[in-house]
Symmetry: C3
């Protein structure tokens, strides 16, 4: 009987070999993975490669103050993001290439990281996130609402070319970096210093308390502080409306300074997160400063019981992995506010909207690990009328495939 | 003896393991494939990934009416297409990213598909083919002649952003979609509705009869109907000549409507295919309509005996797989005609060429599954002289690597 | 005992199968490899695929004549190159897609090669290197200094669209090609013929003597001969300074002719290489010719004992593979000179710098097979002052990840 079993085992191996070719490695053992993308890593952890990407297709419809031409209704079907992403590592060095396919192609992130000092002191060189704020540091694939909050947008540092020292363990995450303009020179940044520190007083599989603070100081050419009112897209020549305080004429600021505080908790299927931002641009040649501050509070509940994953390496939330083949369902509410009114509305400063807020209610269906279908309702209000309108409503929706 | 055989079997496995590393999956069993590109799919069919691309390098030489500067000879060596393509699926959702590398990069296709309703009702969202016409719906990699026919070019819908419901079984293929302008806004399309229906009264491995019809109605800004005379490329400032009916000045049409009929048969190494197109653009603000119609008939014979493959999912022909290591040889002839003369040649309409036709004779060498070498002779005639010329000849050739 | 061993062998195979999925091929046996990128090839050699790329992030600081605004100090942090590269082959045909990610994307190389005539007669069609000069034919990833020498830059043929016959064995490497303008039409090349011949009187694992000669003749539109003074980058509106002889006004040359000689030796950890270039552009419509010539000599020593690898297929040096986990260290010195003074400095010709030379001293750390960290000191001198300066110094550094 034993012999027979062995014979069967061998026969089955042989049979398989007959009907299918073998796949071997010419060096270290390799572990493969495919879920729409492809991932290979050596079993000894020395090398890895991953190809992936993201597609976000949005349909929006909005009215009132949310349209760049207030009072006019707007709607748009457009790709919010489309990226091809390659990453990997060999020995102590890693890299990331993230390329924007839309708008004729541009570099999203492109960097290499030295990991030889261990998890608490990695060095990343190249175009990268500056890591300022919880919502902004998390991937655009796995933020809860479709768009980040008003203050996170107003103080978004973007991805810039520089060097960042960063590290994390279960308790803390930190980053310190210096940067200059992005590769495609889409901003007028001369230099920036940005730091962030996060501590997790509680951190287990199902429970998290996250406290964080960030600071950035930036030299360059700045002309305004503000944000779109919760939506993107819009027909050409139109687009989504903005609340902002900006210089008219040739006045300009040569410095921007901002700080923020982060608070988040995740307990089983529920999470709460909130951030406060405060900053200003310092007018050059006698131009007045422009100040802005704002906050958001967000509550989310995953009806199907999953917990948001969290990446200590960046100190931010990550994907939701549905535990059922029919996917995971999440509902959430977010209220945010941005106040740019702390300057007189006289030349060379022009206030638009003064203070704006949005309430976002949404439902997300995570069809599987790669696919998120989002439907958000957004109600926006402004303190001062813009083009005769001081509120607006939007329905925004997204199909996302992130492999 | 038996024991010895077993021992040998085990020893050989062990030996191989000693000289080469193993490759395993961390989840479902994976089947790999490489033929210049790379493909991975799980054995359970739940996930897949594929990276591929196409390179088409053309050399053309033409004279007479085929040159944009009629009477001048033209020749060009250029890349007709160069694309990087990623596709895959996970569970019920799939995606395709096809990126044009030439001309600084642009999106060819970018979409995600929900396949949960089965093969007869798939939903594709994003930039995609509209599926109008047999020649146009088939891949540019595997059309028989190097360029599509005059009427297929005149009524080419391009790839646009929208949503398409489509399905197929062995008997039928259908698609219904609504679209707007492509991502890069290279056209002035406001909205389009396009439908196609194909039936296969006969369909087996070696025999096919294909009948199809399509319809499209489009709102936007249109200024002409016409087509290049069979060739592409051309020195800058010159290029290939066109037959067309177009508005002069500021006249414009705000609607385009077209339909077509498709007929094809494939019997062993021979195929015949023909299409008829009829359409018009409707002048706005009192501008007259512009009408066009045309057809082509094509006969092909694979000398080495292979049969053209056919994809029911899109209802169109696909690649030829050579059965011999020395490749497959195909000869073909195509006659096409486009008539844009059904309007008076007075302002604001300008007729160029009135009616044009081309006769294309060609030979294709499918060196292997990935490589096609094409040599076409094209003779073009127009009813009315363009720049003193009413006919022209071209030799066009291509090296194609499609992995 | 024997049976037990067998049983254990089978049990271990079975156990592995239980905890990890299998990876098989649906055809020929496949060998996989990952070192940051991914490579698959069939064991029978019939097909292969490879995805890789390169990231070069530079930081420069320079003064004196090396700045485009002489006398002004300059410094820059920028990506020198960022490319995504796909290559593969199937049966007798291969391809390469190399795409520049920076500056909105452009094609570096894009070609297909017929290999059916064997290693001594390959035919490559598409955008490719013309192979003129030892330093230029080698990959930008594995040249010793960060930038190629002054004369190699002055006579750089770039990558153009054409057809090249090329071949190699252990003794010789040759290439003969005809070309036209690159895809993106960044040059005014009408046609070019370029040839190179290399012979290796000595060639073993640790010893190499390389002798080569090249010739190119080019029709098109040329307005100058010259080179940057050893550095790249620079703030916008500034950039690195150049030595050159150029036409002022509308004078132009319609022909360029150049030849070069190559000499290199590699003995264990030491290498020496030298090249001489001589060429001229022939003024059209009575404009005078402009001549230039130059040379460089380079000495390198790998302190850790490795030998530079060498590719006979292209007749050029390639990567250094560190034999120790702590990487390989290399020091080198290069002296180069470019003389563009052989024309009177009167209209329509303007001489800038007349003769320039640079001395480059550098140290390279090959952290592993993929990562090179370079630090170069460059001292430049010119015969004639440019903006009041006739020398300058630079510190240039690079982090390179090439997977």
């Amino acid at each position: 009987m034993k012999k027979t079993a062995m014979a069967v085992a061998i026969a089955s191996v042989t049979a398989m070999a007959a009907q299918a070719g073998t796949v071997t490695s010419d060096g270290a053992d390799i572990v493969l993975k495919t879920k729409g993308g492809l991932e290979a890593k050596t079993a000894d952890g020395k090398a890895s490669f991953k190809v992936g990407g993201r597609i976000q297709l949005d349909y929006n419809s909005y009215d009132g103050v949310m349209n760049a031409v207030p009072g006019k209704d707007g709607s748009d079907l457009f790709f919010r993001r489309a990226r091809l992403e390659l990453e990997g590592h060999y020995s102590d060095w890693g890299y990331l290439m993230s390329y924007n396919l839309i708008e004729s192609g541009s570099i999203d992130q492109l960097h290499t990281t030295y990991m030889g000092f261990g998890d608490l002191a990695a060095l990343t060189f190249g175009q990268q996130k500056e890591d300022f704020g919880l919502e902004d540091t998390g991937s655009s694939k796995w933020i809860t609402a479709m768009e980040r909050s008003l203050p996170a947008n107003a103080f978004d540092t973007g991805n810039n070319v520089g060097a960042k020292l960063h590290g994390a363990n279960d308790l803390i995450t930190y980053s310190l970096g210096v940067y200059k303009q992005d590769i495609d020179q889409n901003n007028d940044l001369d230099s920036a210093f940005t730091a962030r520190f996060v501590v997790r007083p509680m951190y287990s599989e199902n429970s998290l308390i996250h406290l964080g603070a960030g600071y950035t100081t930036r030299d360059g050419k700045f002309t305004q502080l503000g944000s779109r009112l919760g939506v993107r897209g819009g027909e050409s020549g139109s687009g989504a409306g903005r609340i902002r305080s900006r210089y008219t004429g040739s006045a300009v600021a040569d410095e921007l300074e901002a700080w923020n505080g982060e608070l988040a908790g995740s307990f089983g299927p529920m999470h709460v997160m909130a951030e406060y931002f405060d900053g200003e641009i310092s007018g050059a040649n006698g131009a007045p400063d422009i100040e802005a501050d704002g906050y958001y509070v967000q509550l989310g509940w995953i009806l199907t019981g999953e917990t948001r994953t969290y990446k200590t390496a960046i100190g931010a939330f990550d994907k939701i992995k549905p535990s059922s083949p029919s996917g995971a369902w999440e509902v959430f509410a977010r209220y945010d506010e941005l106040d740019v009114s702390d300057t007189d509305n006289i030349a060379p400063v022009q206030l638009i909207g003064e203070t704006g807020n949005t309430l976002t209610l949404g439902v997300n269906w995570y069809a599987n690990e790669l696919v998120k279908i989002a439907l958000n309702y957004v109600h926006a209000e402004t303190d001062e009328k813009i083009g005769g309108e001081d509120d607006g409503d939007a329905i925004v929706s997204r199909i996302q495939f992130a492999f």
